[in-house]
Symmetry: C2
Subunit: 404 residues, 2 copies
Amino acid sequence: MAAPTDQTVYRATTTAPVNIAVIKYWGKRDTTLNLPTNSSLSVTLSQRSLRTLTTASCAGKYPSADELILNGKPQDIQSSKRTLACLSNLRALRRSLENADSSLPKLSAFPLRIVSENNFPTAAGLASSAAGFAALVRAVADLYQLPQSPRDLSRIARQGSGSACRSLMGGYVAWREGTEADGSDSLAEEVAPASHWPEMRAVVLVVSADKKDVPSTQGMQTTVATSNLFATRATTVVAERMAAIETAIQNRDFPTFAEITMRDSNGFHATCLDSWPPIFYMNDVSRAAVRLVHDINEAVGHTVCAYTFDAGPNAVIYYEEKDTELVAGTVKAILGENVEGWSGPFHEAVKNVSGPGVALDKVDPRAVEVLKGGVSRVILTGVGEGPISVEEHLVSESGDVLSH
Amino acid sequence: MAAPTDQTVYRATTTAPVNIAVIKYWGKRDTTLNLPTNSSLSVTLSQRSLRTLTTASCAGKYPSADELILNGKPQDIQSSKRTLACLSNLRALRRSLENADSSLPKLSAFPLRIVSENNFPTAAGLASSAAGFAALVRAVADLYQLPQSPRDLSRIARQGSGSACRSLMGGYVAWREGTEADGSDSLAEEVAPASHWPEMRAVVLVVSADKKDVPSTQGMQTTVATSNLFATRATTVVAERMAAIETAIQNRDFPTFAEITMRDSNGFHATCLDSWPPIFYMNDVSRAAVRLVHDINEAVGHTVCAYTFDAGPNAVIYYEEKDTELVAGTVKAILGENVEGWSGPFHEAVKNVSGPGVALDKVDPRAVEVLKGGVSRVILTGVGEGPISVEEHLVSESGDVLSH
C-alpha cells in the first residue's frame, strides 16, 4: 500500500441501530448540551430490521467545508448546531491524538465528507435521529481511530440528539441523567447486553401518517415549562421505575418489565396532555393498540405483551419470542396479510402462524376495526447489537459519493 | 280545602339543572359518603336547555315501599344505597320537624312515590345523575317543607351523586372538599349567582356514541389508587386553580376563566391516562374540538372560548354571548345545519349567523373533517338558575303517575 498522499481518502463505515425507550426521555435541564431532566432506558432494536448506514471520510483534496449527505440530500451543516457540536468534539479528540503522536496523519485538519442512509422511510415516524447521530459519531470516531469507549462517545452523541447516546450500545441501555452542569456524567451505559435476554421481540404498528403536531424538541420544553404534573414524574416517578425495570431486566422478568414500560409510556403522554397548550401524540389508532395489548394479556391470563409510544401515534409492542403466536399472531390475524411488513427480517417467526394466538372475540371489536383501518404497515424486530463496523462504504476510494 | 285524610296525596315538584365542572371532581377520599379528594367548581346550565323534572309525593294510601320511577321505568330503590341514603336523611329531617310540632301531618311515616323525567336523552352522555339527585333531594325537601338551605341540602345530595350537590344552586358553584370525616363540611356553595355573569354561554358537541369504557365512579378510584401523578393534582394543583378561577369569576375575566378551565380538563384527563390500567375518555373527535378552540382563539388573537371534557368524549365549549358569532357561528359553519340542536333554546343567538365567525382556513383542516364526521348533535345553552319549584306535577292529585 502506498504512503498517504494529498489524494488519499480516509474512510470508515458503520451501521447504527434505532432504540425504543421503555422509560422515556422527555424534558431537558440544559437545551444546548441536551442534558435531560430524568434518566431513561431503552431497548436497542436489531439492525436486521432498521439501521442507519454511515460512511465518514476525509481527505486533503476535499473542498474546504465539511459535507453531510443524508439519504441522498446534502445538508446545511453550518445551520445545524447539533451536528457542529458533535464534529467539533470528535475533531478535538483526534487533534489530541495527533498532538501526542506526530506520526499520525493530520486527519483533524481535513474536511469531512459524511454520507448516511436509513433503510427505513423517515415517514415511518421512527426515531431516525437517534440512529443517525449515533452512526455519525461512531463513523467519525472510527475514521479518527479514537480510543474512547462507547460510554465516552455517548457524551458526544447526546449533543446531537439526546436519545442518540443510547444507540451507541446494544441490548438494554440506560442513559444516566447525571448531575454535572457540563454534562460530563450524563452518559449512556449498558444495563445488559442483548445476549442476556435475546428473546425480546417487538412489533411496530406504523399508524397511517397524521402529520406530527409538535416536534419533540419543542414539545418537551413546553411540558417542562407548563405541566403541573411534570416535576413529580421527573423527580420521583422515573427514578423508582428505573431501579425497578433494571431489576426486571436482570431477572428477565417480562411481566414486571411490561407493566413498567406501559405505565411509563402512559405517564409520559399524561404530562404531554397536561402541557399548555396540550400536546397529543396518541390518536384513536394508538388507543386501539393499547386496548389490544390489555385484551391479549387478559385473555392469556398473564402479561405477554407491552405497548409503548414515543412522540407519535405508532405503537411498539414488546413480547418474548415464545409468545410470538399469541402476540404477533393475533396482530397478523387482525391486520391480515395485505399490510406491509410481514415478509421482512424476523418474518420466520410468524410465517407459519395461520390463526390468531388469542381468539379475536376476546379483543374489543371496535379496537379491531380501528386497527384494521389505521395501521399501514408493521415492522417485526427484536433486541439487537450496537453499531457495527462494515466495509460497505458510501464513499468510494477516490472520494465519490455512492448510493445504495 | 278539606282536611287531610288517608286518601290525601302530598306533592311537590321541582326542576333541577345540569352542571358542568370547570375544576373537575375526580377521586373520593370516602366512597360511602362521597367525600372528594379535592374541591371542584361548576357552571350551572340553563334549564331552558337541559333539566330534570321530579315530583315527590307521599300518601298513607300508597303501597308500603317507597317507589321511584325514572323516565317511565320503575327503579329498584332497595338496591341503590345512594338513593336510600338521601331518602333516609330527608325523612330524618322531616321527623325532627314533626317531633317539634305535633300539628304537622306525619309525612315521614308515609311511603314515597317519586317520578322523574329528563328532557334530554341519557345517551347524550351528559351528567344526568347530578340533575337527577339534585331534583330528588329538592323535591322531597319541598314535599317535607324542610327549612334547610340549599347549602345544607347539598350535604344530602352529595351522597346521591357527588356532583349533584352543585346542581342545587344556580350560577357559579363551588363544592368545598371539607376536612371532617363525617362529611359535614363537604358542601356546595354559590361563588356567584348567574346574574353576576349572565353572559356565559356553552355549546355542547355531542360526539357520536362510543360506549363509555369505564364508569366514572369506578374510574376515579382507579386513578386515586394507581396514578403516580394524581396526588400532585389533588393536593396542590387544584387548590391553586380554585382560588384563581373564583377571582376570575368575580372579575368576569373570561381569558383567565378559560385558561384555567382548559388546563384543569387536560390535567384531569392526564391523570386518567396515568392510571393503571389507563383510562381514556377523550377520542379523536374530542382532540379535534380541542384543536378547534385553540385555533379560534389564535385566529381572534385573544381567548374567546374554552373547552372542557367530563368522563366522556363530548366537548363543552364555554364562551361569552358577545362572541357567539366567533364561536358558535364557527362551529355551525363547520357542522352545518343538518346537525341536530341549532333550533332549540338559545337558538336566537345563532339563527342569523350565516358564515363562520372565524375564517375556516384558520382552523386545522383535519380537525374540521373529524368534527364533521364525529359530532351528532349540538346543545346550545348558557349559565342558569338552580332548582325551580313548578306546578307541572308528574303525579296526579289522586296519586297516579302521569307522563309527559
